[in-house]
Amino acid sequence: MNLILLILAGIFVNNYVLSQFLGICPFLGVSRKVETAAGMGMAVIFVMSLAAAVAWLVYALILVPLHITYLYNIAFILVIASLVQFVEMFLKKAAPALYQALGVFLPLITTNCAVLGVAVLNMQKGYNFIEAVLNGFGGATGFALAIVLFAGIRERIADNDTPKAFDGFPLALLTAGLMSIAFLGFSGLIKL
């Protein structure tokens, strides 16, 4: 039960984008169309779950025994960067269809700080392996949900006449702010 709550908390209550303000760069960058936003969301779900698992393993099996946990940032960045590269190569060979679908978003995830955020938060909260992976999955699903909703709203806005001064990013930022306020309604729903 707790594990399901953990996923739900990752999606709604502790939404990485709208509550914790991580991963804003791809959130604003690839949210012009619902289609691309969904692609990015899928890629993030895939990589973030994997990254959470591998980062947890590196932390528990290498950093803790050697008493060098203060190096976690460097270690996690190393893990995520090479993991993304590896996943890209693997998919290209093993699942070309999926590789085509995720396309350019896969390498872009290297720069998504939400992925690093998940690894760091898992460590700080002392989650065990399963909790860590589920937290990564839930958080990434939350990211995908947020970016798809956001892209839907931006598509609608793009069809309308907007004041020149607000065109483009100003409106996107306002929209993101309003969405964030809306997601504030979930806070306190699940306490972990």
């Binding site: 590196v58 290498i62 950093l63 050697l66 008493h67 060098i68 190096l71 460097i74 270690a75 190393l78 893990v79 090479s82 590269q85 590896f86 190569m89 693997f90 290209k92 060979k93 093993a94 070309p96 069809d159 309308n160 006449d161």
Partner: protein, 298 residues
């Protein structure tokens, strides 16, 4: 101070780096995907605009399709003959030059010439307006709404709303076909850019109804059909349609059209304007004579 405090981090993080690096190196070999070297070469010569005009997802998609033989070497409508030749050289095939085409908006109903049913204040998008009663604000249900869905679709800044209708800038148009898909009224067509005569109307209404809503609409009078020396223009479903395989761009139909629906008018008489008249031009005055008689008899 424990020497291991220094050695451990160096070895472990350095070790991780080496392991991951080596892992990626091995993975790169193991998961190597055999790619046709031609794909890269073709991609080099393609324009790289990723407009999707060829029907493939971007230039990369077309390059892969050409290399595997699923697309012709002249598959890129943007690059035209020049690119087709280069791609053909890579593939070892003679490129058959495709005739250059450009988008053309088949409506001339500008603000003064066509009437409005009502003033439209909705979302600035043809696809939205067309869902309303009567298919948008224009009195002519076939006409250009002028809300610019095609303008938004164009990646090359080649189509603009001028005086209430979409107008294509021929010099900028690369014939990618995006606007053709974007227009909910299906007004835009890719037509041979060398041909001067084009019917600038899409109305299939009968002549009387067309006259009520637009001063430059095709009224299906068939004067063009009767005057064409090449049997290249016909009125089908109350609308003049040009067969570009037969059309020689003589411009007779444009000069004869009582509603000025057909573009490509020539200064009359053609023989005086161009003393060294070519064959089709020379035929023009001859064809005019019987046409006048016919018009009178009608």
């Amino acid at each position: 101070m424990d020497i291991y405090n220094i050695i451990n981090p160096i070895l472990s993080i350095g070790g991780l780096g080496v392991v991951f690096g080596a892992g990626l190196g091995i993975a790169g070999e193991v998961f190597k995907v055999e790619e046709d070297p031609k794909i890269g070469e073709i991609l080099e010569v393609l324009p790289g605009a990723n407009c999707g005009g060829c029907g493939f997802p971007g230039c990369g998609g077309l390059a892969a399709a050409i290399a595997s033989g699923n697309a012709p070497v002249n598959g890129c409508p943007v690059g035209g003959a020049a690119v087709a030749e280069k791609v053909g050289a890579i593939m070892g095939i003679e490129a058959s030059a495709s005739e250059p085409v450009a988008a053309f908006v088949k409506c001339g109903g500008t603000c003064e010439k066509a009437k409005e049913k009502y003033e439209y204040f909705g979302i600035d998008d043809c696809n939205m307006a067309v869902q309303l009663a009567g298919g948008g604000g224009k009195s002519c249900s076939y006409g250009c709404l002028g809300l610019g869905s095609c303008v938004k679709a164009c990646a090359f800044d080649a189509i603009h709303i001028v005086d209430g209708i979409a107008v294509v800038d021929k010099d900028k148009c690369v014939a990618c076909g995006k606007c053709v898909d974007a227009c909910p009224k299906h007004l835009i067509e890719l037509l041979p850019s060398k041909k001067k005569v084009k019917v600038q109307c899409s109305s299939k209404d009968i002549g009387k109804n067309v006259m009520q809503v637009c001063s430059v609409g095709c009224i299906a009078c068939k004067i063009c059909e009767k005057n064409c020396p090449f049997d290249a223009i016909h009125v089908i479903d109350n609308l003049a349609v040009i067969d570009y395989d037969k059309c020689k761009s003589c411009g007779i139909c444009a000069n004869k059209c009582p509603k000025n629906v057909i573009t490509g008018k020539r200064p009359t008489p053609p023989a005086q304007a161009a003393p060294k008249a070519e064959a089709p031009k020379a035929e023009a005055p001859k064809a005019e004579a019987p046409a006048k008689e016919e018009a009178k008899s009608e």
